[in-house]
Structure formats: C-alpha cells, structure tokens
C-alpha cells in the first residue's frame, strides 16, 4: 500500500490485437472467474477505502468515546475545520517545501547531473558511483532512516566528527533541511536511471555537430539534449512529486517534530487521526491528499496517451 506505482509501459495496440484472440477457448464466463479474485481484493482493500474516506470525512468519527460507537454526519465541518486550521496550512506548506526542495529540485538536478557526467564512461568509477546511489534507493526505509539519525546525531554523529563541529544538531536546528537532504540522497537513483536511459536516446551525431559548431557545454545541454529528453523530464517530475508527496519516511526520521516543523501532510494525517483519534478530521485531510494525487495522476496518464 505504501507504494505509488505508475507503470508507464504504453501498450502497442496493433500487437495486442494480433495476439489477444481467445486462443485457449476461455469464454467470457471463465474469463470473468479468472478476473474475479483480483477484482474482489482490489475492490475491498483499495476502492472501498477510497470511497469510505469520503464518507468518514463527513462524519465525527473518533477512535474512542461516544462518537466511536455512534458516529454522526457533520456535513462539511471537517473540511471547514481543516481549511481554517493553521496547522493544516503549515503542514501543507511544509509538504510543498519538501516536494519542491527534495524532488522537483534536488532529485532532478542531482539525478541528471550524475547521469550527465557518467554518460559516456565505463569502468569502476561509474560502477561505484551508480552502485552507491542505487544502494541508497533500495535499502529499507527503516534502515536508512536510522543511518541518517546516526549521521546527524548531536553527540558523536559522524557528520559532527567529520566536520569537527560541537553540538551541531541538524535534526533539531534545521529539521526541514535535514529531511530534504535525506530525501535527495534517498531518491536520486530513480532520476539518475531515467535520465541515463533518456540520454542514451540523444543521437551522438547531433552533439558532435554542436561541438564542432563551437557550442559550449551549457548550450549543448539546452539546445541539443533538452529537446530530446523533454518528455522524460515531465514523466520524472510527475512521478517523483507524487511519490515524495505520499512518502511516509520523514516520520521515521523526525516523527513530525520538533514542534511540528517537519509535519508534512502524510505525517499530519497519522498524527491527527491515529495518534489524536480524530478519524473524521483525518479522513477530511486524506480526501485532500487523494484529490491532489488524482490531479497529478490524471496529468501523467494524459501525458502517456499523448505520447502514444
């Protein structure tokens, strides 16, 4: 459930038509039976929760107490409460900072930079750099979160030791910056691989002629490379924004603290609904998250279609 996945493979329609005749004689009835178990699970644990969150958002459901036994409809009160609650807005703003800083700027720039400087190299340097970047991406989030807690610790953290600093506690003094840098480190691999694949599609002859014409590195990037990878950039931006927006890992580093300074929306929902017990209000915030996800995902799917 914690994943956000959008396989972008675009189906080749002509090919599909040639192969998709019912060669095994399945028939519609049996085909329906084949699809049924998957649809049942998806309906119960994916579609139903999404619909129920809308209903919950309109109720005064609580985890405990009278409202837990007999929840009542409260109309749009939860939404009004959210939209007038400064904590909701501060959380939304923090989420915006987090997505913009770590995904849209951080991962895109760093991922592209690594893909660009490694584009025509082979050998150990490339393997080591790419291996480390991918390692940061594939290790379990609970493990990497602790590694960063250890790295940034005030007493005896590795960062303080390396920089010979005393009493520097990034997670307390600059919590937002800490989780942004952490998330850049954590997720750069995806952008690196995507741009690595995209740069392979740039015809070397175009770059060669630009170089012969005396274009600087920056001009080559802007005028030759960028037009070829524009679609990849958009794909990349939409996907990593969606993932970062829904990422729960900041909770593992700071649990939203100190003083709610890193309480991005995903953590905010957890704190109000499951810690604070206000399920109705939490569901209203979840609805807002769902709507934002929907906008990004529709954008993305339309992009895929237009490519086809």
């Amino acid at each position: 459930m914690a994943q956000a996945t959008l396989p972008p493979e675009v189906l080749d329609d002509a090919k599909a038509r040639r192969y998709n005749a019912d060669a095994a004689g399945l028939g519609r009835l049996r085909a329906g039976a084949f699809v049924a178990p998957a649809l049942a699970l998806i309906s119960l644990f994916l579609v139903f929760p999404a619909l129920w969150v809308l209903y919950l958002g309109l109720s005064n459901y609580r985890l405990t107490g009278a409202a837990a036994a007999a929840p009542q409809s409260v109309g749009f009160d939860n939404f009004v409460k959210a939209l007038t609650d400064p904590e909701f807005w501060s959380s939304t703003w923090l989420t915006f900072e987090f997505v913009l800083g770590s995904a849209v700027i951080g991962q895109v720039v760093l991922g592209f930079l690594i893909a660009w400087i490694m584009r025509d190299r082979t050998g150990p340097i490339k393997r080591i750099v790419e291996g480390l970047v991918i390692l940061a991406w594939i290790l379990p989030s609970a493990v990497v979160s602790f590694l960063w807690v250890a790295l940034l610790d005030r007493d005896g953290g590795t960062l303080n030791t390396l920089l010979h600093l005393q009493d520097f506690a990034p997670l307390l003094d600059h919590p937002m910056l800490s989780i942004i840098v952490f998330n850049i480190w954590r997720g750069a691999a995806f952008s690196m691989m995507l741009y690595g694949a995209a740069l392979g599609n740039v015809p070397p002859s175009h770059l060669e002629s630009a170089r012969l014409a005396g274009a600087s590195g920056w001009q080559q990037l802007r005028d030759v490379v960028f037009p070829h990878i524009r679609g990849h950039v958009l794909t990349n931006l939409l996907l990593i924004s969606l993932w970062t927006f829904n990422d729960f890992t900041p909770f593992l580093l700071t649990a939203g603290g100190p003083d709610g300074k890193t309480e991005v929306l995903s953590v905010h929902v957890y704190q109000v609904a499951l810690q604070g017990g206000e399920l109705g209000y939490g569901a209203a915030v979840s609805t807002v998250i769902l709507l934002i996800n929907l906008v990004v995902a529709v954008f993305y799917l339309r992009l895929l279609r237009s490519k086809k």
């Binding site: 914690a2 192969y19 399945l26 139903f48 999404a50 400087i117 290790l139 979840s286 929907l294």
Partner: protein
C-alpha cells in the same frame, strides 16, 4: 592545456563529493556490526562477533525477520497467482469495459497510496477484526499491489504468441490446463519480475504493518528496526547495526540477482 587539466580536476572533485555524499551515511552500516561497543560514530571495526551474539539472544529480532519473510512471500504468492489469472483473461478475452477497467485500475493504484488510505484501512481492519492478523495484512497489501501487477503482467501476456495455446486446444486441453502448462512457462520471466517486485515492496513497507500489527511477536523487521531506535528513549545501538545489516542484505542480493539475470530492464515507474 591548462583548461583541460582544470576540467579533469573539476571532474574528479565532483566525483569525490558525490561519492562522499552517498557513501558517508552508509559507512555506519558497514562498520558498526563488527565494532565492539558501537556508538553513533563510525569507527574502524575490530571484527567482533559479540554484536551478532546479542542479536541471536534478542527474543524479537530473528522472529521479526521471519515475519517479514512470511508477509513478503505470502503477498508475492497471492499477487502472482491473482495477477496472472486476471491478466491472462484480460489479455485474451474482450470482456465488456475492459479498457476502462484497466485505465481505472492504473489510476486508482497510483492515487490511493498508504498515506491517503491509512485512515479508512485502519478502520476497515478494526471492523473486520484484521488488527494483529498477518493474513489480513497480506490481503490488504495484495489489494494495493494487484492493479500495477495486473498491468505489468498483461504486457507480458500480450506479447506471447497464441499459437501454442491453439495447438494445446486442438489436443483437447482444458483452459485451466492451458494456462498451467502452456501460458505459465511462456511468461515465467514476467512471473519472476512481479514476484521480486512484490517482495521488495513488502519487505521495505513500514506504514501498513506499523498501523495494523501491534503485537510485537507478529511485527516484521521494518517495525522492529524503528522500535529499536525510538523506544525507551535510548537507541539500542548494539542491535541496530547487526539487525539493520541482516535486514538489508536480502534486498541487495535480490537487486544483484535481478540485474544479473535480466540485465537492467528499466521499468519506468516501478519502485518500492
């Protein structure tokens, strides 16, 4: 010439900075498990086995890894079976509303994330008495992974030729036999891809087991790892090193296996 030299120097400085940025946070995981009395600080390991002994003495550590295996294997099995059946039917039979269904599934799976659905899923688990049930968690995780799995699987199905199925049918095989003995062997790489992808997803998942399993004996490694460094105000550093290492190794091995065996096929959006 000087310009060339400067460029080379600039390049290597950049590489060094990148290597440091990505390697320094990982150093702890490589050194602490083998250092006696580990602290947050990275030190030269003295290759003690004491930390591993402490890990084996801990009542929950190994059990939680086993729980992770159970959850990952159970979810992967269900995802592979159900996604294969559904993808085959959707690939071969033109069911009414098929394209709309696929499109909706894809959309839903990408917008209903753990973050957006944690409140209703928690509620649902309470109502269905699935709190503290590993089977319940497996079903919930399966429901979340299935749409993307069906989509990937259908891609594999669409690209297998139907002539084998036709000849099997001529020899009188039933549809189920055809799926088991003809289709499954043909799409085996697809099955492996989906299985590995599902295992990787569940192995690293923290949010769902954290929400739905409160019994410490049922919790997977992700939750125990978090407990070890947050509970009691003092991180259990001795255990964290060895436990973190043991918990990480399978993911790395799986990644190496996949990239060796299938080369690196870049599935644009497949992550976590």
């Amino acid at each position: 010439m000087t310009r060339f030299v400067l460029r080379r120097i600039g390049f290597y400085v950049l590489i060094a900075v990148l290597l440091a940025f990505f390697a320094v946070p990982l150093l702890w995981l490589a050194s602490a498990p083998f250092t006696s009395d580990p602290t947050y600080q990275v030190r030269m390991p003295d290759f003690t086995s004491e930390n591993f002994r402490a890990l084996f003495d801990n009542p929950y550590a190994l059990g939680s890894l086993w729980n992770s295996v159970l959850l990952a294997a159970g979810t992967a099995a269900l995802v592979v079976v159900f996604a294969t059946l559904a993808a085959y039917a959707l690939s071969r039979v033109r069911l009414p509303g098929r394209d709309a269904l696929l499109y909706t599934l894809l959309l839903l799976s990408s917008i209903i994330t753990g973050t957006a659905a944690m409140v209703p899923l928690f509620q649902l688990a309470v109502e269905l008495q699935l709190i503290d049930s590993q089977l319940g968690l497996i079903l919930i995780l399966t429901g979340g992974l299935l749409p993307a799995a069906i989509f990937m699987m259908k891609d594999f199905m669409d690209s297998t030729p139907k002539s084998y199925e036709e000849s099997a049918r001529v020899f009188g095989a039933t549809p189920l036999q055809i799926v088991r003995h003809v289709v499954v062997p043909l799409v085996r790489p697809g099955l492996a891809t989906i299985a590995v992808w599902a295992v990787a997803n569940v192995w690293g998942n923290f949010l769902m087991p954290y929400l739905l399993l409160s019994d410490v004996e049922k919790q997977p490694a992700a939750v125990i790892m978090y407990t070890l460094y947050t509970e009691g105000g003092q991180a259990n550093i001795q255990l964290l090193g060895t436990f973190g290492l043991l918990y990480s190794v399978p993911v790395v091995l799986m990644y190496l296996f996949v990239s060796k065996k299938y080369g690196f096929r870049f599935h644009g959006g497949i992550k976590r």
